[in-house]
Amino acid sequence: MTIVIPQSFWLYFTFFALLLIDGLWCMLATRNLVRVLIGIEILMKSVTFFLIVAGYLSGRMALAQALVITVIVIEVVVVVVVAGVILGFFRKRDSLDVRNTRDMKG
């Protein structure tokens, strides 16, 4: 089966790119660890949106939804684990500043 992507693809692609830029900027420009997590979440939203658009345009919505549900499960686990790491860091250093992670022993 061959599918030619319609012009509306570029509309969806534009909004996907904007969400991607927003998430990346949020991750890179902030110094707060919780806000880094929010940036990761925005990036995940853009990927989720693009998966759904891919399913919609190719007519494979069932497969796209199955993949999106997988992504959402992974997203939740990532958020919970990173939240735990952030809280652990806060208890050790009494700070949420990213710059304070540089001198950790690792």
Binding site: K45, F49, M61, V68
Partner: protein
Amino acid sequence: MIWLTLLLVLLVLAALWASMTTALLRATLGLALTSALLSVVMFALGATLAAVVELSVCAGLISVVLVSVTSLTQPRSLKEAVEARKNRLHRFWPLPLVLLGAGVALSFVRVPVDIILRLPAGDGDVRTVLWSMRQLDLFGQILILLAGVFGVLVLFRKEAK
């Protein structure tokens, strides 16, 4: 199509608010709003099951986790808050301009060739795909959920005396 475009504009604006607002609780609310709008977009595109999961899990559960993390940390002093606000403005003011510029540029850019996907024919119900065709994914999801359980244990761990 117009209302879908409007929804997508609102989606980007909510994400922009989530990344630019100073207070973490407001940022969490912005993220929940982004998830809710994304689930409406998904519903409009026909992904109803994924929309329900997105709304309940991402707009609900993740917001609760982020609010819990924020409430378990200490607030800034007034001096720190003023300093952080000034620094944030300095680092984040170009973001709306970058997004506007990228949006205008991407709305004019068109790759002259059509993108062609070659896919096998046929697509079943989402439940059939999820439970019958993606069993390895399900196994992976169970393992990842177990990792999440350990994450929750870490989240509420007490320091050993």
